[in-house]
């Protein structure tokens, strides 16, 4: 077993220097002295050692994660949660204050029923404010990126949970608003499974092709809104990497959040037109286009921020 062994090279990328020196290298070095025994026994021992090490060191790792970079992780989580709540309230305020909002639903009930669909948008967008505010003083780019990916994954899980609640919340809102209990559900009140079943059924009939395309688009848009958390997280990390003051960071984060939400609604109108006029364009491509575009922007911003930091260091 040599230093350049592929298994060791891979582990060196994912494990800390301490884990490599104390657990991985000694275990791999033992393989060299066990000629005659199958190599898989050594790899099995290494897997077990890494699993035990992960469990044993998890409390210390959690403590380190909590305290590092002036407690950036808990600050980021708190800032993201606060931004998500504010964003949700801003998104549902027009509906609540508009004429369409029925007086028969109380304010709290109104907020509870309208929040899930607003949260699907507000939760990923909250990272644009929370991550730059918490990580703007961090110097380790790789660490910021890894932590951001962790927060993005949490946002994806949160947005996916909200997405599951949206159909029932919408239906409950309609029932309470109308006072009738037997309102049939529409596409906005169908879950992902019902939507899929419906557009697959429509695709089998010649007359239902256009309706099927629209439903397929709705299905893909719901998933892409959740997937937005990944490029938004990367963009947030790029903003954090600019290392500006609190006011500037808050301003740029707020502007990016507002810009993202405004662009999302504008794109939704344009997408409906494209779907109606261009039957050759797949609905999934239209739905995921914003994610791809935002990912390209986020990657460019991340690289630019890296180049700027390298220049500053030089």
């Amino acid at each position: 077993m040599t230093i350049d062994h592929p298994v060791r090279r891979f582990l060196a990328r994912v494990c800390s220097a301490g884990t490599m020196a104390r657990v991985v290298d000694p275990t791999l070095a033992d393989v060299r002295f066990e000629r005659g025994r199958p190599a898989w026994i050594g790899y099995a021992a290494l897997s077990r050692a890494l699993a035990v090490h992960a469990i044993v060191s998890s409390p210390a790792r959690a403590r380190r994660l909590w305290n590092e970079d002036e407690r950036a992780m808990p600050k980021a989580a708190l800032a993201c949660a606060a931004a998500a709540v504010i964003g949700t309230l801003v998104l549902i305020a027009p509906v609540m204050m508009g004429n369409a909002s029925p007086q028969r639903i109380g304010t709290v009930r109104n907020i509870v029923l309208l929040s899930p669909q607003a949260m699907v948008i507000a939760l990923p967008a909250s990272m644009l404010l929370g991550i730059p505010m918490a990580f703007r003083r961090s110097r380790d780019r790789r660490r910021v990126l890894m932590r951001t990916l962790g927060i993005s994954s949490a946002c994806i899980a949160g947005a996916l949970t909200m997405l599951m609640l949206v159909p029932d919340a919408n239906q409950a809102y309609r029932v309470e608003a109308s006072g009738m209990t037997d309102i049939p559900r529409g596409p906005a009140e169908w879950g992902l499974r019902e939507l899929r079943k419906e557009f697959e059924s429509l695709e089998r009939t010649p007359a239902g092709a256009q309706a099927a395309r629209e439903l397929r688009y709705v299905y893909q848009v719901r998933l892409s809104l959740v997937g937005m958390a990944l490029p938004l997280g990367l963009l947030a990390a790029a903003i954090a990497a600019l290392k500006r003051g609190r006011t500037w960071t808050m301003a740029i984060g707020s502007m990016a959040s507002i810009g993202y939400i405004a662009a999302l609604f504008s794109f939704s109108d344009a997408a409906s037109t494209v779907l109606a006029r261009a039957p050759a364009v797949p609905p999934a491509a239209v739905a995921w286009l914003p994610v791809a575009a935002l990912m390209a922007v986020a990657l460019a911003a991340w690289h630019l921020a890296g180049a700027r930091a390298a220049r500053a260091a030089a």
């Binding site: 040599t2 104390r22 657990v23 275990t27 791999l28 090490h53």
Partner: protein, 104 residues
Amino acid sequence: MSRKPAALPRLSAKESLILDLLTRDGELYGLQLVAASKGRLKRGTVYVTLGRMEDKGYVTARAEDAPDGAGGLPRRLYEVTPFGVRVLKAWTTLLHHLAPELAR
């Protein structure tokens, strides 16, 4: 106001066994410890336990001299520290007084 006393050193059964073997045999490799323990230490966990013992100051480790062949991974040799010896003695004495059936 009463203050919580500083934690006393503790030894798990595996840590106690490792200190015992290192005190008896001197410097040993991980695999030698596994072999000497007659099945009580497993090769999948011995390095995790040794790593924790290094953190606690019970043992020290050094890489062996450069192995044959370019780029070969060196094994680690473990040795008990004077603090480790004192902790083992104190722990064994304590067990003899409080729980003789465990001190065997």
